[in-house]
Point group: C2
């Protein structure tokens, strides 16, 4: 499938210097796509810790089941990461689990590590047997070329319907020691925020125990990957992992709330949000990036539910695609969220222009500046419920003919 | 807006004879549309009882608020029904409530009845003031022409983006006395099953107390209007009302579970399902009618949640639009439902062809007959969770370019 780059794509892939302790290689294994890299192998130095958050789907793919088990059995140790694009190895039964074992053992052998230190992911079509032999055949060559690929090549190799590779980098300090964080992600459809969405990998040279990584990741994902939606559909393969090689040499920090981690937390959160926004900007068929800020709700959960009701409404999303300032559909979506609202306290603004108050349009409402805002690529919707202190922000994109084009015949 | 008839439209509007005790009239009041009837007045003989189910939206429209109150204060009496198309009188604040009062009082005057016996509904754009004077100006003329309109004209007058008028009729007997039930409906977008969907009115000449009507309606709606979805969006105006004029002269029945009502219950349920299916068949942009049967779930609620997760998935709906037998997306949707499933017990069939079992495609799976079924206009998806006795069937349509065309610029 050849797709035009999203009109919302960033100007270019950012400059991601290597992270000490992590080496990358990519290969064209022909899992499904021809003539492009489709397998990524990352190798981490001994002592690397890891944490992950995964799809909450009840039909999670075999690689997700493996990673959960490996993280638990291996106490968060990580030496290798193997990702393929083109086949999700989901709903493939016992054969799918055997394929994971085969791939994991191949990587464990070339990296000379325990299988539990090898993490895997597959993304692509659901329900087709994974051609593990093709991947295994590529592993030895990948091991011989570790360090030859950069993060851009890695992000490109794991993409499917993505129209641009997604990456971000941040620097910060832990207790005065400089630390780098790199992240890559893939994803543009089957994006809904009940988990880490699609595949994202973050690598840092910080020295942090696995439980600290896990706490920081869970915290960071709540307002980044778990706050985006493209189409309300939840993947069987969603995986977000954070690897810390320890090469930076900072002093150990055992408590995720330790104030010495303040800068790291902020940098990680910022990077996760950056990657999550890139996924939305590559939403299938997207032509507009939409931020929905909800406040004044009875709780943060209520604010999130209202935000997602707006973000997932096909009628809101098609109105945005048509640059139609049809705020009545926002009222509808707020109403269907099931959360407590009071018509006469509800304030709705688009592009900073207040539209409703006291249960009706504001006196002398002028649609012209709102319509002008709707013509842009960056749409901002604000909802104030006027009831409490619950606030949450979600991000989404519009629903266009492009989404139908991409998905009405994905497999052919 | 001029739309081509849905390819899923029935051959024609069925023959709906009058129901004794109910008279109809329509008029072109110019609420929003020009050159077409947009107001319906129904008058019921004294003694008519009524029940209604309404949107669960937290931003319900002013007419919905009125009907709930009128039914409670008037003990289910009904003498008049006034419906306009083109303006939903939703999110119109105190002015919207005043507009309802104005219209209700005008009808109460011409029909010489209590305001609480007058029921109203408005459907169309949200957030614009209802031009009540135009409607009131039409009421006196309507009252002089009662009985001049048939059910087809009534169904046509209340339509908005509908491409065909929706009606159904059934006959049955209560205790040997013949009874007729007529129903009309409108709706094609903003259709989601958390309530009676959009506007539907059912009139019978049976003699039944209002509490019995209410019980029968709530029961019937659960597996008809509350089992359909077009786009997962819930209207602010959904109203389904049942009026019983008593003209048939059957003996009183006070218990909705009375066995003498067996035939009436079956006829009503069948009529409601017929109307609900017509709404789906007129789903905005629909080219395929989809039945999703779920069984073997841990409860009926779980089966419904799984069915709706499939029916509301944009990826499933676009695959159906493209006639793509992409059953992996059904697996995805089952997984995101949040309901308990076990991969290895899940059976999925399309068009009667079993596709998955034991957590993977069946041995020797042949896609050809499934692909042939997907080319048709009537798609049947079956999911057996293999866990319990919970079963539910939902109906939906596909998601096509037509939906985007209709909704990206609805107001212009």
């Amino acid at each position: 499938m050849s797709l035009k780059p999203s009109p919302l794509a960033p100007a270019g892939f950012p400059d991601l210097p290597p992270v000490a302790g992590a080496r990358l290689a990519v290969a064209a294994a022909g899992v499904r796509y021809q003539g492009r890299d489709d397998v990524l192998l990352a190798a981490f130095d001994p002592g690397t810790t890891a944490a992950g958050v995964f799809t909450r789907s009840k039909t999670a793919a075999a690689p997700v089941l493996w990673c959960r088990r490996a993280l638990a059995e291996g106490a968060g140790a990580a030496r290798g990461l193997l990702v393929n694009a083109g086949n999700a190895n989901a709903f493939t039964g016992a054969a799918g689990e055997a394929a994971v074992t085969t791939c994991v053992e191949a990587v464990a052998k070339v990296l000379d590590c325990a299988p539990q230190a090898v993490h895997v992911a597959s993304t692509g079509t659901i329900g087709e047997p994974l051609p593990a032999p093709r991947i295994v055949a590529a592993v030895e060559g990948l091991a011989g070329r570790l360090g030859s690929a950069d993060y851009r090549a890695a992000a490109t190799a794991i993409g499917t319907t993505d129209t641009f590779p997604k990456g971000a980098t941040r620097t910060c300090a832990i207790d005065g020691v400089p630390v780098r964080i790199n992240g890559i992600a893939k994803g543009s459809g089957m994006i809904a925020p009940d988990m880490a969405t699609m595949l994202a990998y973050v690598v840092t040279d910080a020295a942090l125990p696995a439980p600290v990584l896990e706490a920081l990741l869970k915290r960071g994902v709540a307002t980044s990957f778990n706050a985006i939606t493209v189409d309300s559909d939840t993947s069987t393969s969603d995986s977000l992992m954070l690897f810390a090689t320890g090469a930076a040499g900072n002093a150990p920090v055992e408590d995720p709330r330790d104030r010495r981690l303040k800068g790291f937390r902020a940098a990680l959160d910022d990077l996760l949000k950056d990657l999550a926004h890139q996924v939305v900007r590559d939403g299938e068929g997207a032509t507009k990036f939409v931020e929905i800020r909800v406040r004044g709700a009875t709780s943060q959960g209520a604010a999130k539910a209202i935000g997602l009701a707006i973000a997932n409404s096909p009628l809101v999303k098609t109105a945005i695609a048509g640059a139609d300032a049809n705020w009545g559909r926002i009222v509808m979506a707020v109403g269907k969220s099931g959360q407590r609202v009071e018509r006469d306290r509800l304030k709705i603004a688009i592009g900073g222009h207040l539209i409703t108050d006291n249960g009706a349009p504001v006196a002398g409402y002028d649609e012209a500046p709102v319509a002008a805002h709707m013509q842009g690529q960056e749409i901002r919707i604000e909802v104030d419920c006027g009831l409490g202190r619950g606030a949450f922000t979600v991000w989404t994109c519009d629903l266009t003919h492009g989404y139908i084009d991409i998905n009405a015949d994905y497999r052919t």
